[in-house]
Symmetry: C2
Subunit: 315 residues, 2 copies
C-alpha cells in the first residue's frame, strides 16, 4: 500500500497540516488557529486533532502514513525531538513533542526547525531538486535559512547553522531584535522595510505609503504598493531592499559556495521589483568564481512550503 | 613498512616541503625559493627537487611515502588537480599539476587550496582533533579559511566555500582588493591594520608606529609593537582589529554553527593583545546558542601548518 506523508507546520498563530504524497503533491491541507496562549498541552492536542481531521478528509488511516513531520519555530533540538522555548510559543519549555506525539499516535514523528524544514522541502520538491549544494532563505517578518550541503541538511553543532538573518552586514547599523547591530535581518526583512518607511514618514517625507496604510500600521506591503504607484520614497526603499538582499546573498555565496540560492517568504512575492537591482549588487560584491556557479531563484513552493517541508522530513 | 606523508606548501615566494608521519610529526622539512617569476615549468621542477631533497635528508625512498599533498594558492580545481591562475604564481594557467607530478614521480598526488589544506591539517593534527564541526581561519596579509563539516572538508560547488575574507561586514566600508567594499579582509587583515596606521600617520597623528617603521613601509607588526610600548593610536588600532575579528567570528558562528574556530596566520601571533576584546565583541554580536557551543582558540600548528596541512591531504 502506498505510503503518504503528513506534514505539520506549527506556527505561533496557526497550525497547517497536510497529507502529501512522495512526489510532493498535497492531497489535502487544513489550517487551524494554534491558540498558542493556552500553552503546549492544548497546542499538542490541536496538532493531533488536525492530523485526524486531514486523515478523515482524505479517507486515509494512520497506517497509510509513513510518518509525521513537524516544522516548528526554534530554538529546538531536532535530534532529541525537543522544542526548547520559541518566542512565539509561550509557556513552552523543553517540550519533548516527538516522544509525546509518537507515543499517542503510534507512528514515527520527526522534528526540525521551520526554516530547515522549508529548505529540505524546497530541495526535494521545488527549485532545489537535484541540487547538491543548495541554500534556501525566507525573507518575511524575519530572515531565516537552511542549507543543504552535498545533498544533506547541515544543521551545525546545535541545530543553529544558517542563522543567516543574524549575520552582520554593517557593524555600524541599526539594532536588531537579537541584540546585535546591523544584522542582515535588521536591513532586509519585511519588518525592516516597514521601519525604514516609518522613519521617513516621521521625518516628514511626503509619501503615498502613509495614505495606503491609513489608520493602521505601516507594513512592507504598503511600501511595495506605493512604489508600484510611482511614489519616489517608496521606490527608493525598494531599491535599498534589493541592495541589502544582494549584500546578504553575496555573503551566502562567500560562505557556502552553493549552486543555487532560493528565496521564499513574503518579500519574495515582489520578485520582479527586486531581482534586477539585487543581482546587480551580487555581481558587484560576490567573488566571481562563487557568483558564476550560483543561480539565484524565487522559491517554488510558495505558501505550501511549511507543510511540504515538514512532510519532507520523512524522506 | 610504515608509510610517511610528504607535504608541499607552494607559496608565491617559497616552497616548503616536509616529510611527516601519520601522527603529524614533521621528520624533516626544507624551504626553497619558489622562483615564481620563471613560470610553472621551473616551479614544478623545483617542487620535484625539494621532494627528492627531503627524501635524501631522511634516508627514505619514494616507496616509503603514502603520497604527496600539495597546498597551493587558489583559484584551483582540487578534484581535477588543476591550478587555475593564482595572482602570486604568474604565468600559471590551468596547470594540471597533479597529473604532471604523479606521472613523473610515480606516486599519488593530491591538491587543495592552501587555506583548506591548513584547515584539514589543524583538524587532524592540531586544535581541531576530534572536532566534527570546525572552522580554521588564517589572518595575515589576507584572510582565508577552511571549514570541516561533520568531519569532512566542505569545499562547495567549485572549491570556493569558506571565502571568509571576502564577506561584507560593512557595506559602507573601504574597498577591498577583490573589488567589493567592506570585506572582512579589508578591515581585519594585517594589510588592513597597516593601511589604517598609514592613514592615521598621513592625517598627522603622532605615533611611535612611524619611528618603528623607520624608512621602510609601515606594517602590522609595527602597530602591535607600538601598542606594546603604550602608544595610544596603536592601542586604538589593536582594539579596532580585535573588534573587527569579533564581527567576522560572530558571522562565522551564524553561518556554520561550529564547535570550534581556530585562528592562525601572522596576526594570531598577537593573541594575548587581541583575545579579550575580540571575545567581548563575539559575545555581544553572536546569537547566544551559537556562541555558547563554540570555542575560539589560537591555531596550534603555527608556521608548520602549510606542510602539515598539505601532508594531511593524504589521510
Amino acid at each position: 500500500m502506498k505510503k503518504f506523508l503528513c506534514g505539520v507546520d506549527l506556527g505561533g498563530t496557526k497550525i497547517s497540516t497536510g497529507i502529501v504524497d512522495e512526489n510532493g503533491n498535497i492531497i489535502k491541507s487544513i489550517k487551524i488557529p494554534t491558540m498558542a496562549e493556552k500553552g503546549p498541552d492544548v497546542v499538542i492536542e490541536r496538532i493531533e486533532e488536525s492530523i485526524y481531521q486531514v486523515l478523515k478528509d482524505t479517507g486515509l488511516e494512520m497506517s497509510n502514513l509513513k510518518g509525521i513531520g513537524i516544522g516548528s519555530p526554534g530554538p529546538l533540538n531536532a535530534k532529541k525531538g525537543i522544542v526548547i522555548s520559541p518566542p512565539n510559543l509561550p509557556h513552552w519549555s523543553n517540550v519533548p513533542i516527538v516522544e509525546i506525539l509518537s507515543k499517542r499516535l503510534g507512528i514515527e514523528v520527526r522534528l526540525e526547525n521551520d526554516a530547515n524544514a522549508a529548505a529540505i522541502g524546497e530541495h526535494l520538491f521545488g527549485s532545489g531538486r537535484g541540487v547538491d549544494n543548495f541554500v534556501y532563505i525566507t525573507v518575511s517578518t524575519g530572515i531565516g535559512g537552511g542549507v543543504i550541503i552535498e545533498g544533506k541538511l547541515y544543521s551545525g553543532e546545535n541545530s543553529n547553522a544558517a542563522e543567516i538573518g543574524h549575520h552582520t552586514i554593517n557593524f555600524d547599523g541599526p539594532r536588531c531584535n537579537c541584540g546585535n547591530y546591523g544584522c542582515f535581518e535588521a536591513y532586509a526583512s519585511g519588518t525592516a522595510i516597514a521601519r525604514f518607511a516609518r522613519e521617513g514618514i516621521e521625518k516628514g517625507i511626503k509619501t503615498k505609503i502613509k495614505e495606503l496604510a491609513g489608520e493602521g500600521e505601516v507594513k512592507a506591503e504598503h511600501v511595495f504598493e506605493a512604489a508600484k504607484l510611482g511614489d519616489e520614497f517608496a521606490k527608493e526603499l525598494v531599491e535599498k531592499e534589493a541592495f541589502y538582499l544582494g549584500v546578504g546573498i553575496a555573503n551566502i555565496m562567500a560562505f557556502y559556495n552553493p549552486r543555487k540560492i532560493a528565496i521564499g517568504g513574503g518579500v519574495s512575492a515582489q520578485w520582479d521589483m527586486l531581482y534586477e537591482k539585487m543581482m546587480e549588487t551580487v555581481r558587484k560584491k560576490a567573488l566571481k568564481p562563487n557568483a558564476e556557479v550560483c543561480e539565484v531563484v524565487k522559491a517554488q513552493l510558495g505558501e505550501n512550503i511549511g507543510v511540504l517541508g515538514a512532510a519532507a522530513l520523512l524522506l
